[in-house]
């Protein structure tokens, strides 16, 4: 299949001009006191500086955060107002858990393709350090009733309802609302179901650190990252990690699985703070502004699975979404030159690959004649991914799109056609968003 994927008539191309992020920091580290708005503004400032967007009116800026304070109801617009962009740049917030950044890129690209926008910035930010803490449900109900009370007597009566337990705060948790299990415990189920070994997970984690370190060493990220708060590299990166070190870590998820407990802090992503942005444009806009065009955003696809009672793994939606996306574009896994599969956990990536290689899964779940196919490991996460960089939930999509667009642009053509890249991101709630990019 050598034909390039061309848009339907009447639809123009949306290109990735470039991206900018701040280095990702382990929670409680360099950005412990930085808010989402601080970090999103910092990432936006760097993007504006890199592409000379001062006082420029951008068609639309869309970004979001998973852990969000209620006061940040207009987070993205506020970040735009605080940036060097023109104040006439509209912005909106969106949220699709860990797929927030991907959905921002796909949605804005579609508007560019339809001619509704000429330029756009997609982004995402998350702080696990500066997380919102709410008052308890009991106190919240009392305070709201108090606000509605008319007389002093009513107010006193309502205040008298406060009990000591109402005063304990309500912090966000990583638990899935419908199961009470953490994402790690859910993945432990999937990892065991697909019989992913500890060794394979540690190898993937090691490769992530080695690849990310090598990419920094050859200055790959120089035009993708702006230092912030003293960090110039992702603080989770362990360039000197070894299989020996990884193998000494004790399992942290699925411990009651005994022998099958394989998920450690080394092959799972840590809680992370950070922000990312991506500049998208029509070809005309990029050309008029003499800006580079790294890649086309070809197509995107969302998916979801029924994970609640374990029919499918919580993070397995991309295993279904990717086959649909590729089929729609007349492609197979063999036609992809770079895979960016978000490493929520090493087990997530390996379970997805195992499902695609499984004949029964291909037949019964994907409705194919056999297994969906194999991913050439030399094409997978070649510049490292979330296990090494960390994963500030909503910021991961922007990191992946900017990184892959640059890789595709550097690669140029393969067999006479533009290099192709696939991004796959799983998300809470059993969801996933995947996208197809093509080199320019």
């Amino acid at each position: 299949m050598n034909a390039t994927t061309t848009p339907a008539s009447g639809v123009r191309k949306a290109v990735v001009v470039g991206g900018n992020r701040i280095p990702f920091a382990r929670a409680g580290g360099a950005y412990a006191h930085s808010s989402n708005q601080d970090m999103l503004t910092a990432a936006l400032d760097g993007l504006v500086a890199r592409f000379g967007l001062q006082d420029e009116t951008i068609g639309e800026v869309a970004a979001g955060a998973v852990l969000k304070h209620s006061r940040d109801f207009n987070l993205t617009r506020e970040a735009v107002l605080g940036s060097a962009l023109s104040a006439t740049t509209p912005a909106y917030d969106l949220q699709q858990a860990c797929a927030t950044g991907m959905e921002a890129v796909i949605g804005l690209s579609n508007k560019i393709k339809l001619g509704q926008l000429d330029s756009a910035i997609a982004g995402g930010v998350d702080s696990a350090s500066d997380a919102p803490i709410a008052v308890s449900e009991g106190l919240r109900a009392i305070l709201l009733d108090l606000n509605r009370a008319k007389t002093t007597v009513d107010k006193v009566r309502i205040l008298a309802r406060i009990r000591p337990k109402d005063l304990s705060p309500d912090a966000p948790s990583t638990g899935e609302p419908r199961t009470g299990l953490s994402m790690g415990e859910h993945q432990a189920l999937t990892t065991a179901q697909w019989k992913i070994s500890r060794l394979a997970q540690d190898e993937l984690a090691l490769a992530s650190h080695k690849n990310l370190a090598a990419a920094y060493d050859r200055h790959f990220f120089d035009d993708l990252i702006t230092p912030y708060r003293g960090l110039s590299r992702d603080s989770n990166l362990r360039a000197d990690s070894t299989m020996e070190k990884l193998s000494t870590l004790k399992p942290v998820f699925g411990r009651n699985l005994g022998e099958a407990a394989t998920m450690t802090a080394g092959n799972s992503t840590p809680l992370t703070d950070g922000a990312s942005t991506v500049l998208l444009a029509s070809e005309d806009w990029a050309a008029a502004h003499e800006l580079p065009m790294l890649a086309n955003v070809v197509d995107g696809e969302a998916g979801a699975v029924d994970f609640v009672h374990g029919k499918d793994g919580l993070l397995m939606a991309p295993a279904f979404a990717v086959p649909r996306l590729l089929a729609r574009n007349g492609l197979t896994l063999a036609d992809i030159d770079y895979f960016e599969i978000h490493e929520a956990f090493a087990g997530t990536v390996l379970s997805t690959l195992a499902a695609w290689e499984d004949e029964d899964f291909g037949k019964t779940r994907l409705g194919l004649d056999g297994a969906f196919g194999s991913v050439d490991r030399d094409k997978l996460n070649v510049n490292g991914s979330s296990l090494a960089a960390g994963h500030p939930f909503a910021a991961t999509g922007g990191r992946l799109v900017a990184t892959l667009a640059k890789m595709l642009h550097e690669r140029g053509h393969v067999d006479g056609r533009p290099a192709r890249g696939l991004i796959s991101v799983c998300a809470a709630g059993g969801q996933g968003v995947v996208a197809l990019l093509e080199a320019r």
Binding site: P177, R178, T179, G180, L181, N256, L257, V308, H309, G310
Partner: protein
């Protein structure tokens, strides 16, 4: 011969009543007769209280719909069943009674606006290896009494009470299989705070002292307060999901109490028809630390299939003493 109540009895009064009866029986040293009162108790014109219903639904952590959760209907019918158990000629003491299992057939959706008639009676007074057990049947019908909407059978055990004339079964299927329970990987986990009993009491009206506090539970011989069995049942039903088909059945057997606070692990397994439609779910819950089983059960679409895997089958339909003629 039915006893008609003009309004829904207050559970708090019933508990006081039960305490008074217990004291009276202790004083008079009366030996109860091993027979159940033949009359049923009926209350008509029952309607759900919207505020209480909403609080109940939110406590289960699920969106508040206009249709009553099956567990809420049990709470609605419970005072009627209790009225049966506080009658002077009811042979077992209400206080300290243990809930063994429940089997419910939910025949049609009930909306909070529906006016209902609720009828309850006792049946199956039997010896148990550690006391005497009895079944309480509650039927919820439309107010005209024509259509049966919900029917629940609860089995209770009066521990240490042996009535003359009732066989005491020998050491039959003792709960020895608890030791060999190998917990599967949980599909859900509940973090139950020490106030779980008080919270459910507030939404269900069931202020049985064994659920409220360590002190009140100790007064009835327990080392700590325990979660309501019906809280567990209502919550697992909510976890399994709704809305289910209009007609479904569920059952639950309680194997060990949930002492509060607790971390409870659950495994819920669904079965689907060939067309992908939900057919049923089986659930098991155990203590996350000790792996002791707390309860098991299942939910199925349509009428119930008698369970034989755990304990004895629980008949859901069939003739019983004092059964209401279909009206």
């Amino acid at each position: 011969m039915d006893q008609q109540l003009t309004e829904m009895p207050l559970l708090s009064k019933l508990y006081l009543n039960a305490a008074a009866t217990a004291a009276k029986q202790r004083l008079l040293r009366t030996t109860p007769v091993a027979a159940l009162p033949a009359r049923a108790v009926e209350v008509r014109g029952v309607q759900a209280d919207l505020a209480k219903l909403t609080a109940f639904q939110h406590l289960m952590g699920k969106p508040a719909r206009d249709v009553l959760p099956s567990g809420y209907i049990h709470a609605l019918a419970f005072p009627v069943a209790m009225s049966v158990m506080v009658q002077d000629d009811f042979p077992l003491p209400l206080l300290g009674m243990v809930h063994l299992d429940n089997a419910v057939e939910h025949l049609a959706p009930v909306r909070f606006t529906d006016v209902l008639s609720i009828r309850a009676w006792a049946r199956e007074l039997k010896g148990h290896r550690s006391g005497t057990q009895v079944q309480l049947v509650a039927e919820v019908r439309s107010d005209d009494g024509l259509s049966l909407l919900w029917r629940g059978v609860s089995t209770y055990l009066a521990k240490g009470i042996y009535l003359p004339g009732l066989d005491k079964p020998g050491k039959g299927p003792a709960p020895g299989d608890r030791a060999i329970f190998a917990p599967p990987q949980p599909t859900a986990r509940w973090q139950l705070g020490v106030d779980t009993g008080r919270a459910y009491a507030a939404v269900s009206g069931d202020f049985n002292p064994i659920h409220l506090s360590v002190l009140s539970a100790r007064a009835l011989g327990l080392r700590r307060s325990i979660a309501h069995g019906m809280y567990a049942a209502a919550r697992v039903l909510a976890d399994i999901g709704s809305p289910k088909p209009d007609h479904f059945s569920w059952n639950i057997s309680f194997e060990s109490p949930i002492f509060l606070p607790a971390q409870v692990s659950l495994h819920i397994a669904d079965t689907f028809a060939d067309d992908g439609g939900w057919q049923g779910s089986e659930f098991t819950a155990w203590n996350a630390h000790s792996a002791r089983v707390h309860f098991r059960g299942s939910v199925v679409a349509g009428a119930a299939v008698p369970r034989t895997t755990v304990g004895q089958p629980i008949p859901v339909t069939g003739a019983e003493p004092g059964a209401a003629p279909l009206r």
